[in-house]
């Protein structure tokens, strides 16, 4: 993989409002995204992901700092940059009274190549199983999302900027989307996508940046981030929780945060399940539920010093 930067962000800050109502949405962001990689931009809602994307697209103006895409300044050269990128907003709004075909034709004509782009749009729509003849107001949220993806990708841009791209898509279409991203990477193109869905990031990204409260906390490979993974385990007994189980679980190094509520025990666990299964075998287990941790929890575990303890 080439190490040339496609996106270069330096000290980028954004403050909304003024006076006492001032809110710092992004604080001195430094970030570099390399050509040919799929970069996951992660963080909880309100972390500053969309603000970063809107700054890169010159929809909003930075309070401080600068950024470049393809070596061009995001403000001075925004038109030339936009020619080479595709964008899917997190909250996609399109002209409600117009059909997918009409919107695709309009966007393609602004991009200056209706014939070539429309042909590729047809291919993408077929892969995503999108009916372009329907009016936007008649499309489900998932189908609107598909139309947004077609609009973002139909001119085969060198860089795709996608804000929560798979929200509302069914699992089959999500898989198709993941395949498309793999194809993009194989062609040496770059994808910058924001998400708060860990499994999606694990499936397609090379590196991730973790954003929290407007600050970039870390940039790591997906492999490293997900190595600290743990699970929340819920065990529901038919009868009462077996006597002494709580103490037994408290003494197990791979289990923490044990709480009991009636016939239910909840705990945080890493590693193999066998020790837990042996411990709970004294009671009649009605249900065992394993829950993937949220990205925030993994992040906290990774960066709050719990990493060694977890591993």
């Amino acid at each position: 993989m080439a190490t040339e930067s496609v996106i270069e962000i330096s000290g980028l800050s954004k403050t909304y409002g003024s006076g006492s109502k001032q809110t710092l949405a992004l604080n001195r962001l430094d970030l570099s995204v390399r050509r040919g990689e799929i970069f996951g931009y992660l963080g909880p809602n309100g972390a500053g992901k969309t603000t970063t994307i809107r700054l890169l697209l010159d929809l909003i103006r930075p309070s401080a700092g600068s950024a470049s895409i393809f070596g061009m300044d995001i403000r001075a050269d925004s038109v030339e940059i936009h020619r080479r990128i595709g964008f899917l907003p997190g909250e996609l709004s399109l002209w409600e009274g117009r059909t997918g075909d009409q919107i695709i034709h309009y966007v393609a004509s602004v991009r200056g190549d209706t014939r070539g782009i429309a042909k590729h749009a047809d291919e993408l729509a077929e892969r995503l199983d999108l009916d372009k003849t329907k009016r936007v107001r008649d499309l489900s949220s998932g189908n609107k999302r598909k139309l947004g993806l077609v609009i973002a990708m139909m001119h085969s841009p060198e860089l795709l900027i996608l804000d929560e791209p798979t929200g509302g898509l069914d699992p089959l279409v999500q898989q198709t989307f993941h395949d498309m991203m793999e194809e993009y990477r194989a062609k040496g193109k770059t994808v910058f996508l924001s998400s708060h869905v860990l499994s999606e990031v694990q499936a397609i990204c090379d590196r991730v940046g973790i954003l929290r409260d407007g600050e970039l906390k870390a940039v790591e490979s997906v492999e490293k981030i997900t190595n600290v993974e743990f699970n929340w385990v819920d065990v529901t007994f038919r009868d009462a929780v077996p006597a002494g189980l709580q103490q037994q679980l408290d003494n197990m190094p791979s289990i923490t945060d044990v709480s009991t509520n009636g016939t239910r025990v909840r705990m945080r666990m890493i590693g193999d399940f066998d020790p837990l299964l042996r411990a709970i075998s004294g009671g009649y287990v009605e249900m065992l539920h394993v829950e993937e941790p949220s990205l925030e929890e993994i992040f906290l575990a990774f960066y709050s010093g719990d990493e060694e303890k977890l591993q």
């Binding site: 809107r54 697209l57 103006r61 038109v79 990128i85 002209w95 117009r98 200056g112």
Partner: protein, 268 residues
């Protein structure tokens, strides 16, 4: 400037020319129909004579004798009523230039395309300016067709010019609304302030016309309604400088909205 946004604006909104143009044209036909009967318009003039001069002035009837002629009747009544309806269109068009797309979020998609903000605003403005022109021309043609079809004795060129003279003022209202939407950022607030601008202009014109003195003249001069003076074409006092003043105000308003739109955050 590629013209693609202009074309798209016309493609998506051309029906407004039909709806508004035909609607105003029907109003014109109705006024033509009344103008066919000299008894009705002279009766109307007699009714107006019973009102105090200041009240007459406030309603735009500066010369009652003028109202007894067909062209005076058509121009005074039609233009003063059509100008109000056209102002409503102009406010809606001004909002359509950027505010509606910005508030709905469509603007994020548009401005991620290879088109500058300035080019986009200019093309949208031209698109709606053309739609406004289409409306004025269509309503003028329908009104003229009524005059010809009903055999009303009124000079066609005077009627045509007085109706077309509404266009610069419509452009001004559209531009002011667009500017307000660019500054205020909220569609509802922009509607409220634009409506206040239209109503205030109407009141200023009415009071300015009714009252005498320097201050009243000033009030009248800042009202765009005072520049839609159809009677001036009938009595031959039309001054092209009046239209130039309105068009200069349009240019200044557009330049300000361009400056604001290019420099500020979008969708915030």
């Amino acid at each position: 400037m590629s013209g693609i946004v202009i074309g798209n604006t016309l493609r998506t909104s051309w029906k407004q020319i039909l709806y508004w143009g035909a609607g105003l044209g029907v109003l014109g036909l109705y006024i033509d129909f009344i103008a066919m009967s000299p008894d009705i318009i002279s009766g109307y003039a007699d009714l107006l004579k019973t009102m105090p001069p200041a009240v007459l002035q406030a309603f735009g009837a500066s010369d009652i004798q003028l109202l007894t002629t067909a062209e005076g009747w058509i121009v005074s009544v039609f233009v003063s009523e059509a100008a109000i309806f056209l102002s409503v269109f102009a406010v809606m068009a001004g909002l359509n230039i950027t505010a509606n797309d910005e508030q709905s979020g469509v603007m994020d998609v548009i401005l991620s395309l290879p088109i500058s903000r300035a080019a986009y605003l200019l093309e949208r403005w031209i698109g709606y300016a053309l739609i406004g022109l289409g409306i004025v021309v269509l309503c003028a043609l329908i009104t003229l067709a009524g005059i010809i079809g009903m055999n009303v004795d009124a000079p066609h060129d005077v009627i045509l010019k007085s109706i077309l003279n509404m266009y610069p003022a419509a452009l001004l209202v559209m531009t002011v609304t667009s500017l307000l939407a660019t500054i205020l950022r909220r569609r509802t607030v922009a509607i409220a302030v634009s409506a206040a601008f239209v109503v205030a202009s109407y009141i200023f014109n009415a009071i300015g016309a009714a009252a005498g003195g320097a201050f009243a003249d000033l009030m009248k001069s800042v009202s765009y309604f005072s520049y839609i003076n159809g009677e001036a074409f009938v009595i031959g006092t039309y001054d092209p400088a009046d239209s130039v003043i309105v068009l200069v105000a349009v240019l200044v308003g557009f330049a300000l909205s361009l400056k604001m739109f290019v420099s500020r955050d979008i969708g915030v």
